[in-house]
Amino acid sequence: MVEGFITQVLLQPLGIYVVALGAGFLVPLFDRAHRSSAILLFFLALAGMVAIAGINLLAILNGAAPIQIETAGIAPPFAINLRFGLYEGGFVLAVNSIALLGALHWLPSLRQHASALLLYLIMVMGINGMVMTRDLFNLFIFIEITSIATYALIGMERTGSVLAAGFKYIIATSVASAFFLLGTIFLYYLTGTLNIDGMVAQRELISGPIGFIATLFLLTSLLIELKPYPANGWGLDVYETAPGGIAALISVGVSAGVFFALLKTLPLLDNYLSSIAVVGGATFLLSNLIGLKQDNARRLLGYSSIGQMGLLTLALAATVQLGIEAQLPLVAGGLFINHLLAKAGLFWLADLVNRNSTRDWSVLAGRPGRLLLFGILLSALVGLPPFPGFWAKWVLVTELAAGGLYPWITVVLLGSLLEAAYLFRWFTQALQTRESDTPDTIRLESLLPVALAALLLFATGYGMAVQLESDTLIMFLPLLAGTALWLLDGLPGLLKSLLMLVVVAAGGAWLTLDLEGLNRIFGFILVGGGVLLSLATQYRSDVRKGFYPLLGILLLSLATLLRAHTSLEFFFSWELMTLSSYLLVTLGRGGAKPALTYLLFSLAAAYFILAGFALAYAASGSLELAALGDTGSSMGLVFSLLAAGFVIKTGGLGVHIWVPGTYGEADDDFTAVLSAVVSKAAIFGLLLVAAQLGIRSDIGLDPAYVLGWIGMLTATFGALMAVFQEDIKKLLAYSSMGQLGYIVTGIALMSHLGWVAALYLTVNHFLFKGILFLAVAGVVLRTSERLMYKMGGLIKNMPFTFVATMIAIIAMSGVPPLTGFGGKWLLFNAMMEKGWYWLAALAFFSSAVAFLYMYRLLHTVFLGQRKLEHAQLREAPAILLVPQFLLIGIIMVFSAYPKLLLEPLSSAISPWLAGNLVWDGLSLHTHLGYWNAPMIMGVVAGVWMIPLLFLLLMSLTLKIQKVGQFNIVFAAERPHRPEDTHFAYNFFAHYDRALGFLVKPRATAFWNSIVEWSHTLAASLRIFYNGNGQTYALFIVMYLVVLFLVNGGLQL
């Protein structure tokens, strides 16, 4: 009997109601006996609801038919029926799980109010009902139950603002309910049934003015419940003031119920799909825009919630519009789960941190565990991998592209970018330590629900990945490795770094060694180079929490990037790289703020790339990277979008403003990886795109010419800007930007020689920039300075570092006989061959300008007058020098025998661009000129040795006295102090007078004004939120009117 009850009733979906109502009935009774027993019962009930939903969903997933429940044993339409299918199961399980976690989170408050237990159960049951019921009137009842329970729960905290918010809430939901009821009545009048399936079956009856009015009321009601812009001020007030546990449930649970109601009534509302999409899209975009102005943490989450629901609505409408309901679980489900878990987690976290202003979240600074949770939730919300939102957005955008709904792609991506902007600004504020902060008092166990939400995000993300991709394990390998390293993060620094190196080297080798052609070459640079440079990270003895796991993820994601066959795999690795490098930048001393800029530009780049891939998918119907070329007429657009994305990532002129801050403020050793290695990923991407798209048809050619100019202007202005830097790392940052500009031009040449030049420059840039940044890391370590004019004369203390820097700089400058010359020679030949004369002239100029900053770096740091306080400095640690001298060795080998490098490069390119290099012995010939590197090396060595020997000989007869740094001819005076004798500050003042006007920070001003405009726009969009309940009610009515008018209400 009991067994039967359990299997027949309790374990059926209906059991959820039974459990909820039963427990609800019993809780007050238990409470009289003992508060704890009531709470136990309450949790049992919630757990039971989760279990029932889970068991039933599992059955359905295993192939069981959707469960139809007929109350009172009578079939519809004469009685209410419920349904528990795949969608319902998923939603119910998700909502109930969140409810359970939320209850856990809210436990301390629940202990205070016994009635809350009851209300909470009823609210959850109401949401369950909204999801499962198939009866329109019953739906209304459940909506009402939920609303009232919510209102009551909100009102539990009896402060003025909460009560006001609750009152506005009840007004708004009442109006919406009234609309719903009206709609239901009209529909019943037309179809004679209250059953939704029945109505759908008689869809044709719902027409004419009454049908229009009926569906309009229904639609308006549901949309209002979803809090569309601008009729959502009441919702925001609730989010802001309600206790965290409740706000989370309203945000995710109640909204989910309403959303599901919209989903199931959608067949009735198919006339309004466009309206729904517009409402959703506008809400998503505008909420996120307004979110920019927000600095109240909870209200910020409110905007984000509303935005996310807008996105869900848009996704739903668009999916139905495109007729791809099969993708609905992935798109809507993914977005929903993502929003549910991340937002609930964030609301709970906000509750725990209990700081209103986002600025005050700096209490989290220096607490890696909490920050990690916070970061995971934010990343999920923004749609970064590996969380469900990432996959859902991918599918959504590709499907939108396939359906030709391009404007919506813009809306989705722009909205996401805006959301990322304010969410990560919040994160940035949390990262910055402030003096005034008191340590937070969050107990570890209270973070459990948040942590569970984060874990579930990973799990669901993986689940979605399995659905979409076959190679999931490889894609997740970086994350797995990162997790493993993170678990071992307590080990001593040296051990950690060695472990990381082993993991990355082994993993990287396994991932990249079987690659071929271009990918193989980039494998050497990205993985091999990354490991080599990471060797130097051991020079710091401090703990560096989180550094090694993130670096491991970054390097391995670069490896998986190279392995990617489909655009999805590529994009996944790309985003993973973006995320991990962002987090690594934030670890730098002043890294938080520049990292935000870096992230936003990287995300913008990523969204360009996403759009490009989506368009390519739309055109070719395939996700294979190899199919990028089959994109037909949209090839030019695809190329431009992808190239734009990659150029942003290389720091192209105009979008370079992230470069100096990021390179300047990131950890010194990580900057080497960032500049020498990570930037090459963008080059790889660009080459990939150019290989697939740029050369298959003429259409690639015009964007390529533009790209060539962008590259060369970047090179010129990068060099010019580097000339005027005082900060050594910023100088190198601008230098990187400039050097990558040459590479971009090389790629844009779209010729065999051009690409050989580009690849050669890529390898060379890796070599010398790795040395330079590591050398600078040593200098900064010893001097604790980054401003060059505060250094000077360090050659006496750090001769090895000086030699490394000098060789790297000669290799960069293009002076024979080192590698730089080859790059310049190849590029110049390729440009002349192509007839790009103006670019060639510009290249001459920019490489001449580069001399200025190169000399400045060497002189002001290593030469000139040494400061007194630097007299005792020691040489940089050996572990920093070893990779530098290994790289120097490579430079020397390639300088003497460039054939070793050029032949593999040439053969890697041949499949894409026919042609090969003409060798005559060791001499390389082009159409124009020739280059015999070994011979040049020999001649230079010879002409260098002879005067040296001569001078040594003369020195034998000379009395050469080694003198002090002040033993200089100082116009018959003596130098006063090293500071005023060392000519270093504003080294090129006259150059500034002549050409400084070229490098006024125009790009920075431009982007600043963009930010300012967005804020102004956001501020003007906020005028609707005046906090007045009457106004809000008026908006709701007007919303109905507008929908009425827009959908042609006057033509009836």
Binding site: I795, L958, K962, V969, Y991
Partner: protein, 308 residues
């Protein structure tokens, strides 16, 4: 193989000797010419040689460090190397030097070798005037590099080669084939750049003897200075040879070479005695105006004239 290398080195040593001696003599000749204009007698022809000798037999010296010591070595290696990559006499295997190791592009970039090394050496002397001089010199270099690059690109388009030997070959057969006459626009641009390159007035601010005692080499003396003095003559002559090869039809014999290079040198000298010194920002602006414009025109011109 070894013998061949020694043979080449021997040939080049001969070239080196001739060009250095010639460079020193030209220097004396110009000095004497200027002296005559001023109503003086001027230095004897042997004076440059004695000067080098004198610095060489100085008995004391100081050193500021290893780069200071190596600076002049780099400087003269830059001069010798540049000469090594230029074919001096057209049609002569003996005086083709090592020009088959690299082309015009190599020569242009190798010119920086000595400058960079010297700049490092001067930098280590710790003298602020050295650094100021270098900052000025480098800045000015970026400016005259522009018209020069444009002119070079122009003639590379014209002759469709980067090989100096072939460029000279294309100018053989009479004066009317010289670049000076076939592509006078490029020649004009290049000669304006040449003024900056020689470091004569009005573009000698980076030396500025009265203001920043001769700039970069202000701390160099004794044997270091002798290397620098030798290089000054050698490198100056080398640049003349390069310009002669690119724009004035090259030379088939030493006499022709001397006449032509002297004529080219006289351009800089005449301009130098006639114009006062520019400030650095003024000279940068100067090069970015008319000479650059002429350079741009030269490319347009050559595209119209020589490419179909």
């Amino acid at each position: 193989m070894i013998a061949e290398w020694f043979g080449r080195a021997g040939n080049f040593s001969l070239t080196l000797l001739i060009v250095t001696v010639y460079g020193l003599l030209v220097g004396a000749f110009i000095e004497r010419t200027i002296a005559k204009v001023q109503g003086r007698i001027g230095i004897p022809y042997r004076q440059p040689f004695i000067n080098i000798l004198k610095t060489l037999v100085k008995r004391t010296a100081v050193s500021h460090g290893i780069m200071f010591y190596l600076g002049p070595v780099f400087r003269i290696a830059g001069g010798i190397g540049t000469l090594a990559f230029i074919p001096v006499i057209y049609g002569s295997e003996t005086f083709a030097n090592f020009s088959y190791a690299g082309d015009l592009f190599l020569v242009i970039y190798f010119m920086f070798f000595g400058q960079l090394g010297m700049a490092l050496g001067a930098g280590e002397s710790g003298h602020p005037y050295s650094a100021i001089g270098i900052a000025r010199g480098l800045s000015q270099m970026t400016a005259y590099e522009v018209p020069f690059a444009l002119a070079v690109i122009s003639i590379v388009i014209q002759y469709d080669t980067l090989s100096i030997t072939e460029i000279v070959a294309a100018q053989q057969g009479g004066w009317q084939h010289w670049t000076l006459f076939t592509n006078w626009v490029a020649t004009l641009a290049a000669m304006l750049a040449f003024l900056g390159m020689t470091g004569y007035s009005p573009f000698d601010i980076f030396l500025a003897p009265q203001e920043i005692p001769i700039g970069p080499p202000t701390e160099f003396h004794s044997a270091y200075l002798s290397l620098l003095q030798t290089n000054r003559a050698l490198f100056g002559a080398t640049k003349l040879v390069l310009f002669m090869n690119l724009f004035f039809g090259g030379a088939t014999g030493w006499i022709e070479l001397m006449i032509k290079t002297l004529a080219i040198y006289m351009v800089a000298v005449v301009v130098g005695v006639a114009f006062p010194r520019f400030r650095v920002d003024q000279s940068i602006r100067f090069f970015f105006k008319i000479p650059t414009l002429i350079g741009i025109i030269s490319i347009i011109y050559v595209q119209m004239m020589f490419t179909s």
